[in-house]
Amino acid sequence: GCGSTSSSTGASSTSGSKAAQYKVGLVTDTGGLNDHGFNHLAYEGLLQAKNQLGVTVSVVQSQTESDYVPFLTNYAKQGYNLVIAVGFLMAQAVQQVSHEFPHTHFMIIDDEVNGPNVTSSLFETQQCGYLVGELAGLIQKDHALPNINNDNTLGVVGGMSIPPVNTYIAGFYAGVHAVDPSAKILLKYTNDFNNPNNGQVFAQSEIAQHADIIFQVAGGSGLGVITAAQQAHVYAIGVDADQNYLAPNTVITSAEKGVNVATFDTIKEGLDGTLKAGPQYFSLANNGVGMAPPISAIPRSIVNQVLQSEKEIISGKIVPPTNIPNS
């Protein structure tokens, strides 16, 4: 039992008691809350909702894949109004449970589940992937940072070959190739989201093949990617959250995914009664995804060029693909 803290801002006292009766349950995937990534962001959104809206919240971390269904069901059974499933990997479970509990509202992040009581938060991460890709491509082309070699090679370390990972990567490819179609991109998957030592050796392998800017889309395993880049004095691009704080001179930028925003917004809409079922798209246009501020060492001109592309994506002039090209 938690969540009776009165909200300090936002809600009035009358809506406060109503808010306190609004119960939100959050189920993480097996990555857990300290993944420095999207589980963590979802939790931040949840905490924000608790503090600002005064809703009652509960969180549970799945230890194994077989936890998904029982955990979702348990919240539904206990009369929670909104049950949030963090992550693509839980799509099957949400599909099943939402069907069985038509009076509970569900939110799934990163995949689309159909149903009158399911809100799917989908992130157009190909857009932010494109931006960081373009930034990397420009740095590569102009040798805009120290230690950039002449091999014109970039790296990507993915966690698994699944859509929420691959859309980032597809955008990244497009962004890099928009700058220099001849740039070489190495792509490897760790097949594991919480094994930083593994991420590290994968990154080392790409660095060995002369990659000097590495985009990590590997959750907890990605932390090792950043360390590897740092140790080899090359560069990394973070994912989901602004991961610059992990290695300030190494992580040149991050492809951000506003899971916290989406979570908060969905809870707020649920509380207000305006929550709609169906897919909700988060893109550059509504600040649902974005590029974290690049480090100051990067020449202004390059950053400006990327910001220009951002505008063009928003306006629809550039449409980054969601599929990785077959090499």
Partner: protein, 307 residues
Amino acid sequence: MHLLLNPELWTLTISIAVPLIYAALGGMFSERGGVVNIAMEGMMLTSAFVSVAFAAMTHNAWIGLGMGVLSGAAMALLFSWAALVLKADQVVVGMAVNLLALGLTGYLLDAFYGYNGTPISTPSLPTWHLAFLSGIPVIGPALSQENVLTYLLIPVLLAAQYALFRTPWGLRLRSMGEKPQAGRSAGLKVRRYQLSGVLLSGVLSGIAGAYLSIGVLNGFTVDMTAGRGYIALAAMILGNWRPSGVVWAGLMFGFLSALSIQLQGSVIPPDIVLMVPYLLTVVAVAGIVGRTTPPAADGIPYQEESL
């Protein structure tokens, strides 16, 4: 061929192999003393966490390493109490230690650091640059710049070989693994030597764990050992319970893993490539190594008053 000449392949090989070799050496000492030890995973994990916690607290990676090693030894002590004093089934106790370590480290991670994970300011152990080694072709670059624990492995290996086969302690330890009654009939205290073997495995697994968390990284995540303790067990068996064998087995596994990582991104699907180290290990053990012989009394609890 071109691939094999890539120094970075050897760098990868070494960084994957080092923790395996440390842990497998530890297991070897324990089993040479007749105590089957599958708790390397848990001892590594414990040390991985404790070393980060202390390194972060004291801002000194060496203190982290020391405490990590101590925590590995503490788990070994717990293991020994059940296995040697209470004569519990060694495999079951080993499993218990692994579960306990998984639970405790995750539990304490939450308790100490909440959901932010271990502090990013955690220092890690230094990497040494030994310029004079870089001249060696192919493997030179891999050898010349490594974590201090990698270099430490060389004296540790020599010491292991020396201790096991040249010192009275080693002879006695091995006798406990082969036939503890013989050791006892020589007036030796069986349990004391078995304890020393298990404790050593705790210490060495502790180093392996610290290597993972504050050696090459500077943080801890839940279950970060990810089965390396079990692979170390396989390396120990593959290495036929000898320091040199353990090194070869560890390097072989490291090499195959490194190779599979290097091969990824070619036309072969990544999952298939990732199968390579496992399948080749099976081929190696079935085709080349064949039968390996454990110490004769491995895993049999020694009963006082039975001859």
